[in-house]
Amino acid sequence: MMVETLEQLLPGFLMPPINWALQLGQDTFGSAWPTVLLVLWTVIKVVLIIAPLLLVVAYVTFCERKVIGWMQVRIGPNRVGPWGLIQPIADGLKLLLKEVVVPSGADKTVFLLAPMFSFAPALLAWSVIPFNDVMVLANLNASLLFIMAVTSISVYGIILAGWSSNSKYAFLGGMRSAAQLISYEIAMGLALVVVLMISNSLNLGDIVAGQNKGRFADMGLKFLSWNWLPLLPMFVIYMVSIVAETNRAPFDMAEGESEIVGFHVEYSGMAFAVFQLAEYGAVILCSTLASLLFLGGWLSPVSFLPDSIFWLFAKVFLIICFFFWIRATFPRYRYDQIMRLGWKVFIPVCLIWLTVVGCWMMSPWTIWK
């Protein structure tokens, strides 16, 4: 399987050395070679996903500062390197060299584990994300369910950070952020339930493939048969929920300057940076999910252009820019208003739309067959 995929992806002149290496491995390991090869190939794929992802996470922070700068008629970071391009690396180095202060009376193990709890799920979820119809690390049957389960773990990072800091402010902030995450997870989950209902599958690849058919797709206007149009209310709810899920403006209670009771007030140095990495990692993950579920993933918007992974990247970039845009535009929500929006507006709308879509699917006017 590996060899065929490589033959598709790589230019021809690279194949002889690879074949030579495969032959060498065959000679060295003998009958154990297929197992060794499988492990090696999986590790290579993991590195191929994680390494660019970390780089993108670093540059999304830079991109955010630039884009928000332009929106507010500023220049943004422009000192380190040409056009400020080395800024994220300088920031990373600075944070690495800073001391991680552990507050007195803090539960040290849990205090240091908490940032990992929030970052690891954002990385783990990438194991089932498909990039096109062949490029996926683990093609699970229930990949959407897997992502929901894995991302629901990240709330532990917040709760534990708040508790282990041994500080009232961090504790209250942790409680608030955790309650916010749980509330919006319900609305988000219900939106995903509607998507999997109409796709008749929990597999992300199948969900994307299901968006490739329909009346508009036959006419060549594929972007009108993607899920965002028939499920427009769910799409809107999902987009707002992911902003709340990732703790970003206008729902960034943890960073409110006027009432700093965030779960990470006691963190410094790299431990704090890992929380920020987790936030941006979650932003990229949620944007990718939104483009897979509602915007057709790697499908091209019109049928005369070929489907490609670059369409997926373009859509993810658009959604990330949407995150920047609302951050630069809206004032911060008050906490009770956040909870009201989640529980009293989104969840009832989701439940009603769930019923509506269910009836629609069973009616003779169904568009999903």
Binding site: T35, D107, V110, L140, N141, A142, L145, F146, M148, A149, V150, S152, I153, V155, Y156, I159, L160, W163, F171, M175, A178, I182, E185, L202, Q337, R340
Partner: protein, 200 residues
Amino acid sequence: MEFKTFVFYFVSAILVYASLRVVTLRNPVHAALHLVLAFFSASGIWVLLQAEFLAIALVLVYVGAVMVLFLFVVMMLDINLDRLREGFWTYLPLGSIVALLMVAEMGLFIYGSFYGLLESAVPQADRGYSNVQAVGRLLFTEYVYPFELASIILLVGIVAATALTLRGKRRSKSVSPGEQVFIKAADRVRVLHMPAERPD
């Protein structure tokens, strides 16, 4: 040793260790965290048995929701360990009798229904087999009445939780956002046009 067997023993060792720590640790938050670890390892074992839907549901429901609420409560507790340990010796005989009874019951049940399990093979599913579909089909055909009954019990639970936290009419004054959004500038501010007058 086959790789799967190795994974099984590895995960089971973690599961046993975590479960032991749940009952032996003094700090309730640490105990709850070990319970989370135990759930994780259990779901790992279920994945080995090809019950991926159950495994994911265990993580989603127990780790992602139940244990979070549990931690919420446990963190709020202010537990005095000395008071907890006070009656240890007086309660020990009664406690150990109950524990022995439970172990005996579970042992009988497990021995009765799963004797000879080691010889039986794990049913192997073919590649296209979807766990989720199979569970869903069973729930909505064969087990539809128990399923509906469970949902009614859950509904009763929701109503009861709401009723318990509802403490009479709200006394505090608050604005209704529904009315708030309909306010126009003209409702609050009147702009008067006054022509300039020449002082006499």
